[in-house]
């Protein structure tokens, strides 16, 4: 068992599960989407990205790309949230919540790709 691989897989899966947890619930209902869960998803996604830095393999490059996409989507969602609540003062209206959740849905897809690639890579390993 390689501790590095455990940490790597742990963060990729955690990014996926947190993202999924945030995404679950009524699409435009702010009560179903917790800000702490969102923050955790963003931070774990960033950590997962950094862990993928410096990989020279083809699959490593695709993993990094998928992670960067997820980060981008989540940061966009965070910006929408912050601007809606503190800058534009529109508050968390259903339409704002819907766009935040749909952005996080995109990130969820990217995280799903990451996790799939991880599984593919693991299963192609020769024992």
């Amino acid at each position: 068992m390689n501790l590095e691989k455990v940490v790597f897989g742990f963060f990729i899966l955690l990014a996926l599960t947190l993202n999924f947890g945030f995404f679950l619930g009524e699409f435009d209902n702010p009560a179903h989407h917790d800000v702490y869960e969102f923050f955790a998803a963003l931070v774990v996604s960033l950590i997962a990205t950094v862990l993928k830095f410096g990989e020279r393999t083809q699959i490593g490059a695709v993993l990094l790309a998928a992670s960067l996409v997820a980060d981008l989507q989540l940061i966009a969602a965070a910006l929408v949230w912050g601007i809606a609540v503190h800058v534009a003062d529109t508050g968390l209206t259903p339409s704002v919540m819907a766009s935040i959740v749909s952005l996080s849905g995109g990130a969820l897809l990217a995280n799903l790709v990451s996790a799939t690639l991880l599984v593919v890579e693991t299963s192609s390993l020769q024992r």
Partner: protein, 575 residues
């Protein structure tokens, strides 16, 4: 560059970035959890937006104060903690970046990446010079003086440093790599489409052999010039199609004999193969009497052999006659002592060559010899370029500079491929012919070693000439060897030879008509080389050079010329 450096940076930055992200996350979440208060005394909790803002300005120790409301004790406690956490993480991250920048392996990777990019971006022919010693240095300087590009490979770091400190006219990438490894030559651009040739002038014959072999295998079409110090090595390198193998000592011995027998031809050869823009060498003719040769090394052997072939008497002086395989009548001794030289018959000898491989010994021999016989012709071998000032002070008639000989021979192979053929044919001519040519070159050169270059009458090099020939207008040699502004003034250049369909004509006259595909070997000043391009490129100028008529260029001047011109309407622009 991206292949090596970026993953290196990313991998080294992994830990600091993880620490930084975690520290920020902890600080932000903690701040949102700490109980706060509005000014009205109502319980309030900071949201993520403000928490991130506060952490962002406290982490780099900027500190804008407590916003949006004054903090409670719990919040202050947490901010205190998070300042230590985030500031320390920043210090760690910045420290890692600085350590990375100063890391020798990182700097090496950066530098190699830069050099690789420089080589990849070359868009004109360049030469790879393996070995940056005395010879390599001279070669690179001469190449860059001509605005030719070069890439240097040397396994000694000091050599690359000295290259970087040289003030060359064009940038010369220098790789600190061992040229014996094929992949290193590939890095230096061996398979680059603009790689014109490779020059192997390292100190080791084995390395030169390997470089020549690698180049011929990986890029068979290109010019390979190698230096060799022994005849056996030369034969080995030449055996697989290396274009030119240069042995400095053989070349010198050959020239010495030439200088003794036909001094005019020697001058011609010396000047035409010299390094351009250096002062023109005027050396006294070596005598044909008895030669004393001190040191039976590679140089001594080559000179002995060639002089003996010409029937010139030689007396050898060597420290170890038996060990070095000297002829039986060799005088034992170094030659630095007066009694050895006397035993060799210095009073009656007409010349002496100090050929040991130690500059101090050579200088000592020369000075002792001068004291005994102040009319003797002195020649000495210079082993290191740095000893040159000493030799110049010692009043030596002929200095054997292996690095200069090598560099000039290699340059002449690269610059003017016809030159070797020309020199071979010129050597066969009589002394009067050689004397006349020598005088002519001296007049053109004006005290500096002339340039030699080859002109090919082709669409690329001489488009105007080709267009004139297409319209059946004869173009004479005189048309391109005169000043483009004043066709009565000849340029400082001589057409040495013209090659048409494999036939070489020596010294073609000014009335010679040019034909497509001709190759012409010129020597002359670099000014002449530049001026000659004008009629080669411009139809109008070529027309003027051939006929003496000059036509106005722009529409207005053409219009005025048509109205006021003495010889009627000007013809339209030929194109």
């Amino acid at each position: 560059m991206t292949n090596a450096v970026v993953p290196l940076i990313l991998r080294r930055m992994r830990m600091p970035l993880l620490v930084l992200i975690s520290a920020y996350a902890i600080a932000v979440v903690g701040l949102t959890l700490m109980p706060g208060q509005t000014p009205d005394g109502e319980p309030w909790r900071m949201d993520f937006f403000h928490a991130f803002y506060v952490v962002t300005y406290t982490a780099p120790t900027i500190g804008f104060g407590e916003i949006p409301y004054e903090f409670t004790g719990a919040q202050r406690l947490w901010v205190t903690f998070s300042i230590y956490l985030t500031v320390l993480s920043w210090l760690y991250a910045v420290g890692t970046i600085i350590a990375l920048i100063q890391d020798p392996s990182f700097r090496g990777a950066m530098k190699r990446g830069r050099l690789r990019r420089a080589v990849r971006q070359m868009s004109e022919p360049f030469y790879i010079v393996c070995g940056y010693g005395d010879t390599g240095g001279l070669l690179v300087r001469a190449l860059t003086e001509h605005r030719r590009r070069a890439v240097v490979v040397d396994h000694r770091e000091s050599a690359i440093h000295s290259l970087e400190l040289r003030d060359l006219k064009v940038h010369v990438p220098g790789f600190h790599l061992d040229a014996e490894h094929p992949e290193n030559l590939d890095t230096a651009g061996l398979r680059h489409r603009w790689c014109a040739g490779i020059i192997a002038v390292t100190d080791s014959d084995h390395a030169n052999l390997k470089v020549a072999l690698t180049s011929k295998l990986l890029n068979p079409g290109m010019t390979v010039v190698a230096r060799s110090q022994t005849a056996a090595g030369a034969a080995n390198i030449a055996s697989f199609g290396t274009d030119s193998v240069v042995n400095a000592y053989d070349a010198f011995a050959d020239r010495l004999v030439l200088a003794i027998r036909t001094p005019d031809m020697h001058r011609i050869l010396d000047w035409l193969t010299g390094i351009p823009a250096t002062p023109l060498r005027e050396r006294p003719q070596p005598p044909a009497g008895t030669w004393i040769i001190c040191g039976y090394g590679r140089l001594g052997r080559a000179v002995c052999r060639d002089l003996a072939r010409q029937g010139i008497r030689t007396v050898l002086v060597d420290e170890d006659p038996v060990g070095n395989g000297c002829p039986p009548d060799t005088i034992p001794g170094k030659g630095t002592e007066a009694h050895t030289l006397r035993a060799a018959g210095i009073d009656r000898a007409s010349a002496l060559l100090a050929a040991t491989d130690d500059d101090a010994d050579n200088l000592s021999i020369v000075m002792t010899a001068r004291q005994i016989n102040d009319t003797i012709y002195l020649a000495a071998r210079e082993n290191e370029l740095s000893s040159k000032p000493l030799y110049q002070e010692a009043g030596i008639d002929l200095l054997v500079e292996p690095s200069y000989i090598l560099a000039s021979r290699i340059l002449s192979v690269l610059n003017a491929p016809l030159l070797e053929d020309f020199l071979a044919q010129a050597r066969a001519r009589d002394k009067d012919w050689q004397h006349r040519l020598m005088g002519h070159i001296r007049a053109v050169a004006c005290g500096t070693t002339p340039e030699t270059w080859t002109l090919r009458v082709s669409r690329n090099r001489a488009p105007a000439v080709l267009r004139a020939l297409d319209r059946d207008r004869p173009v004479t040699l005189a048309g391109i060897t005169h000043h483009p502004r004043d066709r009565r003034r000849p340029l400082d250049c001589i057409a040495l030879a013209l090659v048409r369909e494999g036939e070489m004509t020596l010294l073609p006259g000014p009335e010679t008509a040019l034909a497509s595909g001709d190759r012409i070997l010129f020597c002359g000043s670099s000014r002449a080389l530049g001026l000659m391009r004008v009629p080669l490129q411009h139809d109008r100028n070529l027309h003027y050079m051939l006929t003496g008529e000059s036509h106005p260029d722009s529409g207005i001047w053409r219009f005025l010329a048509r109205r006021h011109g003495p010889d009627g309407p000007a013809p339209t622009r030929p194109r």
